[in-house]
Symmetry: C2
Subunit: 238 residues, 2 copies
């Protein structure tokens, strides 16, 4: 809560040690990082808050510091599809910065209270796009996301329980700091369904059974995997 009492510059400096550990800023000096964050401001969003709306003019992009965001695209029928879960260290909308007059390609919605560094497009053009190291690192992030999408495509034919299991294990691996089985972000069954291209009801049926069998525990909007071994076994069988 004392954040708002500091100048933007001061706020950012607080996060410097953290920032320098992000893959995007690998091998960057402190001064380089400060250049890359020229004009940046902190922006916090509350649970279910909208960071970016799809098709809005994209004048800034974001670097996630805390929490998580779901990147969402609507289908023609009005349903939502989650194309990526962005966590600390991930960039949002950086890829549309190079073009002039671009728009956000997805909506970014906060999952739980979250925090980003919002960076003006002009800073991207002047500092990020001029630094080949940075461009390559961004490209690497992008590549990893594409491989994720490919992986999901590979497993699309598998029965739904296996795909739910995969998703949960992936998310825990990505977001769980202390290697416990608790997913530190609120993740609803609807969101699982939206990510897998399935329906709430189907996901609920699967996870209810897992709850009864003691594989997972889902209290106060947080999912905990009690028996990862069983889940993994589920996914390998057949």
């Amino acid at each position: 809560m004392p954040l708002t009492q500091c100048s933007p510059q001061k706020q950012i400096e607080t996060f410097l040690p953290e920032l320098s550990r992000f893959p995007v800023f690998k091998n960057c000096t402190t001064n380089q990082i400060l250049d890359l964050l020229n004009g940046a401001t902190m922006r916090s969003t509350k649970h279910r808050g909208l960071l970016y709306r799809i098709a809005d003019p994209a004048n800034s992009f974001s670097l996630v510091l805390r929490g998580a965001y779901k990147l969402v695209r609507p289908t023609p029928k009005g349903e939502d599809v989650i194309v990526f879960f962005a966590g600390p260290g991930d960039v949002i909308a950086a890829l549309v910065m190079p073009q002039l007059n671009s728009v956000y390609p997805v909506s970014a919605i906060s999952m739980g209270p979250s925090l980003v560094l919002e960076i003006p497009r002009i800073t991207y053009v002047n500092y990020w796009a001029k630094n080949i190291e940075i461009v390559m690192l961004i490209q690497n992030l992008l590549y990893n996301r594409m491989v994720l999408l490919q992986d999901q495509k590979l497993f699309n034919k598998n029965p739904l329980p296996q795909r739910v299991g995969r998703l949960l294990l992936q998310l825990i691996e990505k977001y769980s700091n202390d290697s416990e089985g608790i997913l530190p972000i609120p993740l609803t069954r609807k969101e699982i369904a939206d990510s897998l291209g399935s329906t709430v009801e189907s996901v609920i049926r699967i996870m209810s059974e897992w709850s009864h069998r003691g594989l997972i525990n889902t209290t106060e909007h947080h999912i905990e995997i009690l028996d990862p071994g069983q889940i993994i076994k589920l996914m390998e069988e057949q």
Copy 2:
């Protein structure tokens, strides 16, 4: 057929006008292009020929000149999934060039007789990775591929006929030079199924019905859309 009688350098120069129209080489001078193709050789593959095998050491990447390649990943169960169709102007495996000792992330298999420019990794490191314009253009190709994968995810819940229709229209748009409805590459029903995460039988049932209704024509391994309007209508209904 006189290609083999020329020196590699000469061969490449034959294609220069074509090359300079590729998005990757946008705004490049002829000399720049020749630098970027340092050590490159032409390589032709026949129908179903293997250009790259997944997990092999990646010492070179390719720029497609003629024909098409399917980029394939196997599932744990041994089935194939097509993650991308690469055509003239597309690069194959360029994204794993930056890292040392990388391996091919997909298998690249020729669809019909095809031709690529095979470029050694060292040329990527020395010329491509040093040119920020080129890196950004590659990033753009990568981004477009990711959007394609996202689009497929969006339509995954739609009934299979709509997804088959979408795929055919997309491929025709991408590969058909003369705006006719003929797909100039051989595309089997199995390949359609492998791209959509479905099965041959299901695809056949759909396309047979379309044939009988006169929407498409499929002679000698080539698919022709006779009535695009009907297909589009199919996809929009409901």
